[in-house]
Every structure is written in C-alpha cells, then in structure tokens.
Subunit: 203 residues, 3 copies
Amino acid sequence: MVSLSNFSYIIEILGTVAFAMSGVYAALAKKLDIFGVLVIAFVTALGGGTVRDVLIGATPVAWLKDTHTLLIILATVAIALLFRKRMGNFQRTLMVLDALGLGLFTVIGIHKGQMMGFSPGVCIALGTITGCFGGVVRDIMLNHIPALFHVKELYATTCIAGGIVYFALRSWLGEDPAQGVAVATISSLRIISYLRKWYLPPL
Amino acid sequence: MVSLSNFSYIIEILGTVAFAMSGVYAALAKKLDIFGVLVIAFVTALGGGTVRDVLIGATPVAWLKDTHTLLIILATVAIALLFRKRMGNFQRTLMVLDALGLGLFTVIGIHKGQMMGFSPGVCIALGTITGCFGGVVRDIMLNHIPALFHVKELYATTCIAGGIVYFALRSWLGEDPAQGVAVATISSLRIISYLRKWYLPPL
Amino acid sequence: MVSLSNFSYIIEILGTVAFAMSGVYAALAKKLDIFGVLVIAFVTALGGGTVRDVLIGATPVAWLKDTHTLLIILATVAIALLFRKRMGNFQRTLMVLDALGLGLFTVIGIHKGQMMGFSPGVCIALGTITGCFGGVVRDIMLNHIPALFHVKELYATTCIAGGIVYFALRSWLGEDPAQGVAVATISSLRIISYLRKWYLPPL
C-alpha cells in the first residue's frame, strides 16, 4: 500500500500484533470479559488508522475491506489469552514490536497525507494520529486519561521527531530511504526513552 | 430501508424509543440537566448507526436526513421525563423493547455491510457496532467503562450469535426468513440471559 | 466560507484562539505534559467542526486543508504557556472571546447545514455540535463528564436559542442580518448567563 519495501508488510503485521497485545493486557487489568478484551484489542490495533481514514474521508475504512487484519487480531487475542500467565517474560519483546509498529504506522500515515496533497505539518499530524490514537481510544474506553498525554516516557514526541527527519531527508536521500530512516528514528528513540526513562516534564 | 417486512419499521421505531429511554435513565442517574439528558438520549439511540455510517462512508449520516427520528426521540424524552417517577413499573417492558431494538439494529447493520460487499465476518462486526455502540458512546460520555465490556449479562455476544445464525441459514431459507430468525435469536437470547443471569466470565 | 461579513473572519480566529486557550487551561489543571496540552488545545478548538464535517461527509475535514489554523493554535499554545502565571487577570477577556466564538461557530454550523439542504431542526443541531463539541471531546479526553451536560450556566442552550432566532428572522430580515442577530443573541445570552449564574435546573 505504501512505497516501503515488502519487508515493511511484515513489520506492519508485527506492529498490529503488538498493538493488539497491548490492548489485551490493558483490558485484562480492568477485569473485562472476553468480548471486552476483543473490542479493546481491535480498537488499540485499528483505532489510529481508523481515525485517520475518517478524517481524510478514505472510507470505507481499510479494515472493513481487509479480513486478513481482523483474523490476525483474533489469533493474537487467542494466543495472548492462552499464554497470559507467562506474558511477563515477553515484556521486552512486546515493547520492541510496539516501537517498530509505532514507527511504521506513523510513516504510513505521513505517506497517506502526502498522497492527499497536505502540507508537511498536516502530514506529521496525520502520522502521529495513525501511530498513537489507537492507544488514545483504548484509554478513553477504559476510563483513563490517555497515557500519551502525561506518561513519563517519550511516545508521540518520537513520531513528530521521525516526521521532521523524514521531511528533512526526503529530497536529499529519496522517498524510500527517508521513510526507512524515519521508521528507525521513531523506533529507536522510543526504545531508548523507555530504557532510559526520558520524558517531557509536566508543565 | 432494509428488505425486512414493513412490520420491522415499527420494531425499529420501538427500538429507537427503548434505546432513547435507556439513555434518559442513565443520564438522570448522573443528575444531568435537561440538555445533558437530551444529548445522552440522542447518542444512545443514534450512536450505533452513526459510528457504522461514518466507518463505511455513508454520509451524511442517516439521522441528518430524517427529521422523523429526531422528533420521535424528542417525544420519547418528554414522555420519559414526565413519567420518570413511575418508570420502575415499566422496566420489563423496556427490557423487551431494548432486546427487540438490539436484534433489529444488528440485522440492519449486517444488511448494510452486505450491500457494501463486505465479508460475513465484517458484516457481523458492523451489525454488532450498530446494535451496541450507542450504549458504548453513552457510557463513555457518562464517564463509565462501557457496561458492554464487563456487564454480567450477554449483550454483544447475542449479536454475534444472531449474525452467525443469519449467515448459516441465508442460502437455505432465503434472505427475509433468515433475517427474521436472526432478529428472533438475538432478542430471545438477550431476554433469556437477562432473566437467567447468563454471562461471560471475566478473564 | 460563510456569507457573514469579512469582520466575521477575525471573530472566527478570535474564537479559535479562545477555545484553544480554554483547552490549555483545562490540560494544565490535569498536569499534562506539553504534548498533552497541545493535543487538548487542538481538540478543543477544532473538535466541534471536525465532528460536524465527519457527520455530514465534508471530508477531508477543514483543518487538514488549512495550515493557517494549525499555526494560529500553535502560537496560541506557546503564548498561553509563556503567560500562564498571569492568566487569571485575563479571565473575563477570555470569557468574552469564548462567547463570541461560540456564537460564530454555531452560525457557521447552521449555514453548512443549510447548504446541505437539511431541515431547520437538523441545522440547529449541527450548529450546536459545531459550537459545543470541541469542549465535549476535551472533557471526555480529560476523563470528566462533559461540563456542558451539568454545568451551572447556560451554554448549549444559548446555541439553540440563537438558532431559533435565526430561522425566525431570516425571511424577514434577510440572510446576513439574521446571522448577525443570531451571533449577537448567542454571545450576549452566554455572557449574561455567566455573569448572573443563570442555569438549567438538574432533573
């Protein structure tokens, strides 16, 4: 769908899986029943792209036309529930998948904005929405203030940084390499900020 | 609008009335003013179809073009407020209307998905959204975790069961009878689970 | 965009500024970080028009195509944060700007509804959504029950009153003067209800 290499298709699926898993754990922490867990997993994995598609008018939204994604999320929920006792062991793996998904989803959102002819600032906003709003809708449904707005790590900020890197490098490196560098920037900044506890101060 | 019999038009109105009333009582429990009560009644009655229409791109959404529905909801709110002291007496009636509305709204959503050419799984998801998301948006606005995700009765699950029944019977019984059986399945499962307190265990 | 005089363009910007500022203060009260403050400012200023445009299918929504508005909101957030210690002094000024913005946003929403051929009741609903739903989405994101539904002042009610005034006067006064009277009605009713503490009783 985007002009990223085929390799990116696999990363997109891994990102979807990671986002769905983060939904499952957030829902389990609130003691939801299996239907609630399913909805929260779908919302977390699909919410960002859905909000983006609704805002730009790209409807029907993508997942309605793509049963594959729904089946991948269903399978993820089944596996996450089966292994839920042992999930503590995989927390680092999940964190890395989530960071890769964040980078790739952001770049996909930026790319969609460019195809609609929007300005770079608007494209970065769309990319950030694509990467982050699944988690925002998840947190609203679970009756939290979205973690994104106050959490003690960098999250959305890494999407904005990656977007700026992309637009700075694009005319110089070409489209595909600039996208690759942007994904790498977002994912590695996210991982480093998680490990080193970098964050934006509250005001 | 759907190929259900004309009888279904009356059930659709009764379902809208029941959903609007459930919004009024939820809003009264939070001591909202009359404007708040009105908005919550509208959101509960129209929210599911609105989310569906936005996702599939069927805009302007239906209620903008149909002043009748808005007037029916206004009248419902007026009557519900006038008789609010005595409403405890009608709780069973309301429960049955809500169950009929749930069944019909779900089948309408499935039908819209079929007209867009979506796969059965996606159609069932759209039907469930149509039946249930009015209540989800109501609960989010009232600052609850949506009851749907943890309540000790079957609700969304009955929509999914009805959707499966519909697709299992369609080629065998024909379109209209399969829709009728699906509405009956959803409504009766919902009523039985309410009376017998059947529910999905928390995880 | 609307047939109001050019003067209205300035009021629209002032209204956007006032709405963005109200978002900044609401976010500061919840101790969000700078990214959270930014998102809440954008949501408060743009949310009403965005919900309206999504419902009527006017996508891509307006702010995606208008980088000016985004820059004005960014500048507003920067200034609001710099002067946040002294903001108590400007509370009345902000209240007046907010009231002017409320009036103008409502009339813009009514006008968009008329261009789509909707009935007066639906147009007034769209106008009220345009004026008020930025604050509703802000409150949902900050985990409040929307102030609009229970606050001890008139807010949405003034939009409905202004809409009725507009449709009553339009054929008699002509389009532009009727819009002007509606903006004046909404803004002055809002200011008076704030000063005199007029409100709808809870039920």
